[in-house]
């Protein structure tokens, strides 16, 4: 594939565009909420009218040469805020404007609007304020101590991908279904009938709103056509206008229509609220292939036209950075990417291999576009051909961290275990970082990261957190109270159970807050059974409802427990007291002890049963604490094990640990071993990682860094393919390769200006190396070096 001139320009424009905060949405939503109308409406209808108001009044942007149209903000990379969810203070805006990494320009006008309009109205009444005011002191204590984070505090629930059905359905059809659902409401026997009618009314308004929004683009396109000099572009503009009149009102029938159809839906979702991971077209190769094939047979599209369209589509994602955070998170979290993860490959609903020509075409697009967003992954089943994996390795080799590799067979088993039917499971995949979901039928929310090492630290200190100087956990005793290692493990179990209870209580309140105050009638249209149930996506309307709590630091907590077991209980090399003194001193003056903890103690990641047993024990404790607990929207809590960048944050609030880690350094990430402790190579890492039962999770993350030398020829591709297939035969969920050398990274740290395009795999996603904090950069360099030795 060769990038067309048009796409080249759009791509460059996107890379050059400056990230800016736009006050447009904040202003519109405030105007709406101030109106008399807003006050009188039920919550779902109010949110639908707000959605309509936004789409009716926001600026329409059509870029030069674009084939796919629509921007969330007034122009590319102009990023809106969502004051009804969380309100940026003037100080936040200054932080965003001046922070070194991923800054967002905030001009004077925006500040003035915030000062005069937005802040006076929303202060104290944003959803975040509502959430924080309703949390218990225990929740606040654990949250401040760094036991867990809260996803819904600054963004709306998300992690959702569009399913099979919506790629083949227009909103006029949905309006029919809404009418049908309303006519079936049973006011005699269903106490919720009225609530449902309000929700369905809201959904209907949302349908009209998105069709109206598409028509506004059509109007603008026709207007532009009038003054366009080039006859070719004029024709294009007319064609695009016709498409915007057709979709998303009606089902798309061509590749162009399908991409534009999806893009309007995408914009709808991320304008309605700021859901986590923006939104995701999911199994894009499966959706596009039938229309592409039909068009090829008819001769209505050429390969060049196809690549032109796909290139334009790809750029659209890159124009949309993750909405900026506020408060301390604005300072800490500087990720640009919004975690849209396109899935390729996998299996069809009938279970046969789904890899098709479009899978390879899209891999080509990924390779040539080389953009951070959208992210991409390959679903590898035991039926996938080696050629598909080789093609993916061909891109992975270039060191830009995409695509990552997922195990379709595990994903399906995970979904089946959770009670999905086989077709929904096969239509599923992974979104966000590595999260398993039934695309188009499930509302699966990530609710927060949970620091397993912090729970152990509390276990060693009678539940007391030194840094925040308060009792955070349960009083299970101090380290030397535990007469045996088993006693310690039992205390750890109690501690985890107690802390998870706090988290789940919070989750169950927060879910209700979203159901009551922040329904999402538009997103509800897209996820199956919300219409027939007459219930919102945020209120358990989807066919399946899951809430995840993501465990973090499995490698670290395993090494901590193993070290205690080995050095204190089994070998009696050191006492609890001696260890505590060394930890309190952050090993200063106790380097010999630190040395032994690091170099002479078994570690997770080496296929060493002694160490790996603790990983399994922790996994089971965590699983038992979370799995199956009901959620307040009628779903179930599950676990997954992924960190994004939280292992850096959690590390920064934990003192020195018994595995020899210095205070405030990052924890291990995902289910990968602690940085640099895996001494036996990738097969041993895989063996250790597969000792936990991946099938009982909703996703795990394993990061393996490779020097480029492992990708040198066909034979090495075969070996890497075998490595992946072996991990997957052991039920591993996901593995990703970071191909890069430390020298390059170090130079990039020194001369960031020369490496503006350098992309590295951070955890479940890639990011610009320059945009990462220095500690995260250091960590990636350290890991790389280790790999090269």
């Amino acid at each position: 594939m060769k990038i067309t001139e048009r796409v080249k320009q759009l791509r460059q424009q996107s890379l050059n565009a400056v990230e800016k905060i736009s006050a447009e949405r904040a202003l519109l939503i405030t105007q709406f909420y101030k109106s008399d109308q807003a006050r009188e409406l039920s919550a779902p209808v109010r949110r639908a009218r707000a959605f309509e108001y936004l789409l009716k009044n926001k600026k329409i942007y059509i870029g030069e040469g674009e084939l796919i149209v629509g921007e969330r903000g007034p122009s590319p990379k102009e990023t809106p805020t969502y004051p009804e969810i969380n309100l940026h203070s003037l100080k936040d805006l200054e932080t965003l404007n001046s922070r070194e990494k991923v800054s967002f320009r905030v001009d004077e006008e925006v500040r003035a609007i915030y000062k005069n309009e937005i802040i006076p109205f929303w202060e104290g009444i944003s959803n975040r304020d509502r959430i924080i005011s309703l949390m218990t002191p225990e929740w606040i204590g654990a949250y401040n101590a760094g036991v867990f984070t809260e996803f819904q505090e600054q963004r709306a629930p998300g992690h959702t991908a569009l399913g099979y059905r919506m790629f083949r359905t227009g909103f006029l059809q949905l309006k029919e279904e809404i009418r049908e659902s309303i006519s079936c409401l049973d006011y005699y026997n269903d106490p919720e009938a009225f609530d449902k009618s309000e929700e369905l009314k809201a959904m209907d308004i949302a349908c009209d709103a998105i069709i109206m929004y598409a028509n506004r683009h059509a109007d603008e396109l026709e207007q532009l056509a009038k003054t366009e000099d080039s006859s070719e572009r004029k024709k294009e503009l007319h064609r695009m206008a016709a498409i915007c009149r057709k979709v998303p009102a009606n089902a798309p029938e061509t590749v162009h229509e399908m991409l534009q159809h999806y893009w309007f839906i995408h914009l709808g979702v991320i304008t309605e609220l700021n859901p986590w991971d923006s939104f995701n077209p999911g199994r894009l190769d499966q959706h596009l292939y039938p229309v592409y094939k039909k068009e090829m047979e008819k001769g209505s599209i050429s390969k060049d036209e196809l690549y032109d369209l796909l290139g334009c589509f790809w750029v659209k994602f890159n124009n949309h950075p993750s909405p900026p955070k506020m408060g301390v998170t604005a300072y800490e979290s500087s990720t640009y990417t919004d975690f849209c993860l396109i899935n390729l490959g996998g299996v069809k609903p009938d279970g046969t291999d789904a890899v098709n020509e479009m899978s390879y075409i899209l891999l080509d697009v990924i390779k040539e576009m080389r953009l951070l967003q959208p992210g991409s992954m390959v679903q590898i089943s035991k039926k996938s051909p080696d050629r598909f994996i080789h093609k993916a390795l061909d891109i992975i080799k270039t060191g830009f961290g995409q695509p990552s590799c997922f195990n379709t067979d595990s994903i399906i088993q995970e979904l089946l275990r959770q009670g999905k039917n086989i077709v929904d499971a096969r239509n599923g995949g992974a979104s966000g970082c590595v999260e398993t979901g039934a695309f188009g039928t499930e509302a699966y929310w990530l609710t927060g990261y949970f620091s397993l090492p912090k729970a152990l630290e509390l276990t060693l200190n009678d539940g007391f957190d030194k840094r925040t100087n308060r009792l955070v956990g349960i009083e299970t005793g101090y380290a030397d109270d535990y007469k045996s290692f088993e006693d310690l493990v039992e205390a750890f179990r109690s501690q985890v159970n107690y802390l998870i209870d706090i988290k789940i209580r919070g989750n169950n309140v927060i879910e209700k807050i979203f159901a009551r105050w922040m329904p999402v009638p538009f997103l509800s249209l897209l996820v199956e059974d919300c219409i027939s149930n007459g219930k919102d996506y945020n209120n358990g309307g989807a066919r399946y409802n899951t809430s995840y709590i993501q465990g973090v630091g499995l490698g670290s907590v395993t090494d901590m427990l193993t070290s205690i077991r080995y050095n204190i209980y089994d070998r009696k090399k050191i006492s609890h007291e001696e260890l505590k003194i060394a930890l309190d001193a952050d090993f200063t003056g106790y380097e010999q002890i630190q040395y032994d903890l690091i170099y002479n103690t078994p570690k997770f990641g080496n296929d060493d049963e002694y160490a790996d047993q603790q990983a399994v024990a922790v996994f089971e404790i965590y699983y038992d604490a979370v799995n199956g607990r009901p959620t307040s929207r009628g779903g179930v809590h599950r676990i997954n094990l992924l960190p994004t960048t939280s292992h850096v944050y959690f590390g920064s609030v934990i003192g020195a640990t018994p595995d020899g880690r210095k205070a405030f350094k990052p924890l291990s990430e995902g289910i990968s071993p602690s940085q640099g402790v895996d001494k036996q190579g990738p097969t041993s890492v895989i063996k250790s990682a597969s000792k936990i039962d991946h099938l009982r999770t909703g996703g795990t993350l394993l990061n393996q860094k490779f020097a480029p030398s492992f990708f040198e020829d066909e034979e090495s591709y075969d070996n890497l393919t075998a490595l992946i297939r072996t991990y997957f035969s052991l039920d591993g969920h996901h593995i990703q390769f970071n191909v890069v050398n430390a020298e390059t990274l170090r130079d990039a740290q020194k001369h960031p200006e020369l490496y503006r395009d350098l992309i590295v795999r951070v955890a479940g996603y890639s990011d610009y190396f320059n945009d990462l904090g220095e500690d995260l950069q250091d960590e990636i360099i350290a890991r790389t070096e280790h790999e090269e030795v």
């Binding site: 380097e591 010999q592 040198e712 070996n719 035969s729």
Partner: protein, 266 residues
């Protein structure tokens, strides 16, 4: 019976087909100037000082270079890697040092590995008694066989031994059941001139049988030099630089005439 092994490498992908476990056996009758495993030369267990830093503080610990392994221990390690070996059609490789130096143990280990269903490979300098090779052949699926120089004087000078026995053993292996991959280290100033390379190529053309599957060109690299200090062995390669990519590519084409696949690296 136990074998003295100085290193075990998992995800070994350069010593035979697929993903393998390579056992590096201690002791070698040769002393090649460029040897990158100097810890494998002495047939005795040695102590080596390993230095690690914690912040600014340096810690030295004495480690064993060379530990005794029983055949069961070897099988245990392989069993842990079995899934990878099966998926990749890999196996086990005995390298060194010179594994044939511990021939009795090697036979026992190879036999046990074959019985357990693993593909077996022996990476050898060719310098051992012909009788030894005859006894190893029945349990070895693949020999990785080094050729360093055809000129005996040069061979003697740079490896410490004559190549007479080596070439005789090569002929034997090429006419026995196992496969053979020839490995040629490309050492600037020693054998990378066209005359020396031409001699090697001519010999391979003359010796070639169906057993000869592949030629590996192994470009000299310097990673061994720092190890020499640890073992107090003088490093004789001085500041010789690795051969250029261009030269290696030239040689790759040059050896294609033998009529088997030529690969740079293992």
């Amino acid at each position: 019976m136990k074998g003295l092994i100085f290193s075990v490498k998992r995800y070994s992908v350069h010593d035979g087909p697929g993903i393998r476990v390579t056992f590096f056996m201690k002791g070698c009758p040769l002393s090649c100037w460029w040897c990158h495993n100097p810890e494998g030369i002495s047939p005795e267990p040695e102590k080596v000082v390993q230095k690690n830093k914690i912040g600014e503080k340096e810690f030295s610990i004495v480690e064993d270079a060379g530990k005794l392994f029983s055949v069961d221990e070897i099988l245990g390690i392989l069993e842990k890697e079995r899934a990878f070996i099966t998926h990749s059609k890999g196996g086990v490789t005995f390298s060194g040092g010179e594994p044939m130096l511990q021939c009795e143990f090697l036979i026992e280990a190879l036999k046990a590995c074959k019985d357990a269903g693993y593909h077996t490979a022996v990476d050898t300098s060719g310098y051992s008694s012909t009788e030894n090779y005859r006894s190893v052949i029945p349990f070895t699926d693949l020999f990785l066989f080094d050729i360093k120089h055809i000129d005996d004087t040069m061979h003697l000078k740079y490896t410490g031994v004559s190549n007479f026995l080596i070439l005789e053993n090569l002929l034997l292996l090429l006419h026995s059941p196992g496969d053979v991959i020839i490995r040629i280290p490309v050492i600037p100033g020693v054998n990378d001139d066209s005359g020396s390379m031409n001699d090697i190529r001519q010999l391979l053309i003359n010796f070639k049988t169906d057993n000869l599957k592949k030629i590996n060109l192994l470009p000299y690299h310097k990673t061994g030099s720092s190890k020499y200090n640890k073992f107090n062995i003088p490093y004789r390669m001085g500041s010789i630089e690795p051969p250029s990519k261009g030269r290696i590519q030239e040689l790759k084409e040059f050896f294609c005439e033998v009529g088997v696949k030529v690969k740079i690296g293992g």
